[in-house]
């Protein structure tokens, strides 16, 4: 694959703006382009997207593709359709963090019996419902997550103590019927 196409694909895939340094990191030592070369290729890519409704821009922390502002009226109609719903997996993860905090991703996985995707942690962090409060001193030094004030605010709680005790949770009535699994 051409160097320029690699840069282009990488910029599309990144979840955040990428600096030149970060772009270099996707290459092996040999074959890694110089910064000047990268800049030249970015210029070429920018040109290639002239006629398109997206553009490659430089922001404070690097380069990223974004939708041109002219498309805003239509795109915003798409995005405001209706708020997405959080998955069951996300809610379970959040509940475990609330009750077992501070806790690591590994511990959550152990309790849930399945993997916790990075996306879930990412979404919860982005929502500022959880945050890392330290690292566990075990191999890999995994982050310890805890809930935040924003989390309490959202659920209208003054403190964690207002959450029902485990024994009460066990006795909860399911508002929807039995099949808790087919939650969208």
């Amino acid at each position: 694959m051409e160097l320029r196409s690699i840069i282009e694909a990488t910029l599309f895939a990144a979840r955040k703006p990428l600096s030149l340094q970060q772009l270099q990191n996707v290459f092996e030592k040999e074959g890694c382009p110089e910064k000047a070369e990268l800049r030249e290729m970015i210029r070429e890519i920018q040109e290639a997207y002239q006629p398109r409704p997206i553009e490659l821009v430089e922001v404070a922390s690097g380069y990223r593709f974004q939708i041109r502002e002219e498309a805003s009226p239509w795109v915003s109609r798409l995005l405001s359709e209706k708020p997405p719903k959080y998955s069951r997996a996300l809610l379970e993860t959040l509940a475990i963090i609330a009750y077992k905090q501070p806790t690591t991703r590994g511990e959550i996985e152990e309790i849930r019996g399945v993997n916790v995707s990075s996306n879930i942690i990412h979404t919860l962090l982005e929502r500022e419902w959880i945050r890392p409060v330290g690292h566990k001193e075990v191999p890999g030094r995994p982050a310890l997550y805890a809930t935040t004030k924003q989390f309490l605010d959202h659920f209208n709680l003054k403190s964690l103590e207002q959450l029902p005790a485990l024994s009460e949770v066990r006795l909860l009535d399911e508002p929807q019927t039995s099949d808790s699994l087919d939650y969208p």
Binding site: E69, S76, S80, Y86, V133, L160
Partner: protein, 272 residues
């Protein structure tokens, strides 16, 4: 998925001496037409008795439509015995299959009425059908695994959208949804059996978080022990703080140090 339904637990050592029917076995049973690395082959996770049988059949280039039941049964049972003697915990399905094989073998020995040329009388038919069906899905599963898929060969794009004039509404979650999710975690954890989630006072959990956050956000590496207690909180608050610190110490998340006896206590994150 580490926690799959692998049929057996291979904790045992490969070199372990096997004992079959009370007799120590140094060499593998002769019936096993397999090279000396056989024990390691045992240790491959077979997906079940059908998988093991398929392996035995393939290993010897036997025709699946004309399985020499006596041979296969003997080999299969040798495997089961060696596995058993190695204390490899066998799923019940393996024993059920052994019984089924033995039954087919004995039925093969019975004289069949001469006019029964129909294949359907062959006691092996059901087994062959199951083996074929399983093999078919086994192969297809491997092919599905080869398909390019999102997160491995294919990646979705992410676009900067901040410049678009829209406040993307964030999903709202009701407390009861959160609790009902947690309830299903509890039920599942109990059903799976290896987990017991105990009641812990949330006030202590919350305080643990506060202490860790204080340590993390502090410029100083040490914070005085007494700084974690405030008069306003009264006795109850002091107890909660103390319990939280003890719990954090126990989990190795903080260290409490003292330069000399009776000197001031300091709390710090453990050395990285």
């Amino acid at each position: 998925m580490a926690k799959s339904d692998e049929p057996h637990d291979f904790a045992g050592s490969v070199d372990r001496f096997a004992v079959v029917k009370g007799e120590p076995v140094k060499d593998l049973p002769e019936d096993l037409y397999i090279p000396p690395d056989a024990l390691e082959v045992f240790l491959e996770a077979f997906e079940g008795p059908l998988d093991l049988l398929l392996y035995l059949i393939k290993r010897q280039n036997l025709d699946i439509l004309d399985i020499p039941v006596a041979d296969i049964t003997r080999q299969y049972i040798s495997y089961i015995e060696v596995m058993g003697s190695l204390k490899i915990e066998l799923a019940a399905e393996y024993l059920v299959m052994a019984a089924m094989l033995t039954e087919i073998k004995s039925r093969m020995l019975m004289p069949r009425s001469s006019d029964s040329e129909e294949e359907s009388d062959d006691p092996r038919n059901e087994l062959i059908r199951r083996l074929q069906e399983y093999e078919c899905f086994k192969k297809t599963a491997a092919e599905i695994d080869e398909l390019p898929r999102i997160e491995r060969e294919l990646f979705e794009l992410t676009m900067g959208l901040e410049q678009i004039a829209v406040e993307q509404p964030k999903p709202a979650v009701e407390l009861h949804e959160l609790l009902s999710a947690f309830k299903s975690v509890l039920i599942r954890a109990e059903r799976l059996g290896h987990h017991h989630i105990q009641q812990e006072p949330l006030s202590v959990r919350e305080r643990m978080t506060v202490i860790l956050a204080l340590l993390r956000d502090s410029e100083k590496r040490f914070i005085a022990f007494v700084d974690f207690f405030t008069v306003e909180e009264g006795k109850l608050g002091a107890v909660v703080s103390l319990l939280a610190m003890l719990e954090l110490c126990k989990e190795g998340l903080i260290e409490i140090t003292q330069a000399e006896p009776l000197a001031e206590l300091w709390v710090m994150s453990p050395a990285a």
